[in-house]
Amino acid sequence: MAYYRRNSSADRMARGLGWFSIGLGVAELVAGRRIARWMGMEEQAGLIRSYGAREVATGVGLLAMGDARPWMWGRVAGDALDLATLASAHHDGNPRRENVATALGAVAAVTALDVLCTAMLHREEATAWTPHPDYSDRSGLPRPPAAMRGAAKDAPIPADMRTPDILRFQPAAAAPL
């Protein structure tokens, strides 16, 4: 079974990126044409929509509670694809090339996060406590604990470690006045 730990900081970061994936993916699906126009890439609106579908799929994968790592690798690969697509649109002939540069910067930043998160998840596995040994036979006592209860009742408890009578919990009837 793959090792992953719910609620570690890497895990939470991965789920955060999952929500981000879904948000971005939906935006690309719904507004693919507008995004494409903004970057001077009108003829690639379909491609951007397909990228949106990809984002939604990885986002759902990340949020599906299982091992986040394959989905994070999916995100990293997707980032590379995004960067390559944007780079191809970043040329002198594109009047919107400044917008493309902005998008490139944003994707690069997200890529860095994705790589960091993936590395954290893998480091977590390296330090994982797998498999959990079973120590249920290590009682340290010669008989079952229930049979040992109170075996050391005779132990000397020094006076300075005794609870003052008034603070001692005892049957109500026996309580000191």
Binding site: N7, W129, H132, P133, A151, A155, M161, R168
Partner: protein, 390 residues
């Protein structure tokens, strides 16, 4: 000789250092046969405790054979004696020692001036545990100098293995004192935070001392399984609400006695439990390191006792002291007065009432010590207690 030496945060090395020699007439030199890594060492490893210096030799849980004795220790020790050395160095003559308060001996800390300034008044000297407590070389080494050796030792009779008695120097009496100072009544529920080596010893002690119900809290599955083996009901604080479960198990009234066997590096639950939320609302945000203390103060039954073997280094933040005052809680804490308990506990080991070696999961050579620090801290490989053989 070889020793484990502190070089900085998470940097402990297997170095060659000068052999120790008799410096004072009450000293002895012990050739170490077994030593252990303690949870307190982790606070130094992670550098949460101030007062370490590059070159300090680690280790305060160790035993071995006496190989040299100073003139004034000869009345109590001779070459060839097999001894466990308690981590608290005590003189046996000062006011505190005469009261049995060995961990606050007034004379064994050779950096008394520094400690007086920082703590108001000095505490005892400790092995391998910062310059605030004397800067004494520790026992994760081939040899160690034991100051005040005529007092600071437990003689071990033949017929017992190192593994059975080694923990008399620290975690066994620590768990025992943690339970004993709760003055356990047969009607008491004890809740113990932390199932590390100290927590494990505390669980067994509480059972032997006759607690009605012992509840142990941690999140590491194998530690919880060992706690259960010792007779505890377990709570995984990452999966359930500690406060809700403790209240459930005590008819809504809370445990009479609460023990912090975690200390200053406590984890707060990732899925914040309801009590934490409430305390947080009342108190605004805080650093998470006093999490266990806050949880204990909150859930403890009014007029109950908090026992704190877990080590704290300095300042804690956002402690709901009013809650504690109004509930009339008793606080018990401190480094263990090891020798106060060792005669009685040694007898119990001899009689077979308990065998503390159950807690050992890893035994390696001293050279492998540095890696084991990490394994122990990160709870890898099912690690609960490491014994090193120099």
């Amino acid at each position: 000789m070889k020793a484990l030496v502190w070089h900085g945060t998470a940097d402990i090395r297997y170095d060659t250092v000068p052999d120790p020699e008799i410096e004072q007439p009450r000293d002895a030199i012990v050739k170490v046969t077994s030593c252990a890594i303690c949870g307190s060492d982790l606070h130094l490893y992670d550098h949460f405790m101030p007062g370490m210096e590059k070159g300090d030799i680690m280790g305060h849980e160790f035993m071995g054979e006496v190989v040299d004795v100073g003139a004034e220790a000869k009345s109590a020790l001779k070459v060839g004696d097999r001894v466990v050395v308690p981590f608290t160095i005590w003189c046996g003559e000062c006011d505190q020692c005469r009261r049995g308060n060995y961990s606050v001996c007034e004379r064994s800390n050779r950096n008394k001036a520094m400690a007086d300034k920082l703590f108001g008044h000095t505490t005892a000297g400790l092995f391998g545990y910062t310059h605030l407590t004397g800067g004494y070389a520790g026992g994760q080494a081939e040899y160690v100098r034991v100051p005040f050796a005529d007092r600071t030792h437990v003689k071990i009779p033949d017929g017992l293995t190192d593994e059975q008695v080694l923990f008399l120097g620290d975690i066994f009496p620590t768990g025992w004192q943690a339970a004993a100072q709760c003055d356990i009544q047969p009607t008491d529920t004890l809740a113990i935070w932390g199932c590390g080596p100290v927590g494990q010893m505390t669980i067994r002690s509480a059972v032997l001392l006759g607690a009605k119900q012992v509840i142990a809290i941690d999140r590491v599955p194998e530690r919880l399984s060992m706690a259960k083996a010792g007779g505890a009901i377990t709570i995984n604080f990452e999966e359930e609400s500690v406060v809700e479960r403790l209240n459930e198990l005590t008819g809504g009234k809370g445990p009479e006695k609460c023990i912090d066997a975690v200390g200053m590096e406590a984890h707060a639950t990732a899925t914040l439990d309801s009590m934490y939320d409430r305390a947080k609302q009342a108190l605004a945000l805080e650093s998470d390191r006093a999490h266990v203390l806050r949880e204990m103060m909150y859930v403890c039954r009014p007029a109950g006792t908090l026992s704190i073997p877990g080590v704290y280094g300095g300042l804690i933040d956002k402690v709901p002291f009013g809650m504690s005052m109004n509930k009339g809680l008793t606080w018990r804490m401190g480094q263990t007065h090891v020798n106060r308990w060792t005669d009685d506990l040694l007898r119990r080991i001899q009689e077979g009432q308990i065998d503390p070696s159950f807690v050992i999961t890893h035994t390696v050579g001293l050279a492998d010590g540095p890696g084991m620090y990490q394994t122990f801290r990160d709870k890898q490989d099912g690690c609960i207690k490491v014994v090193l053989k120099p």
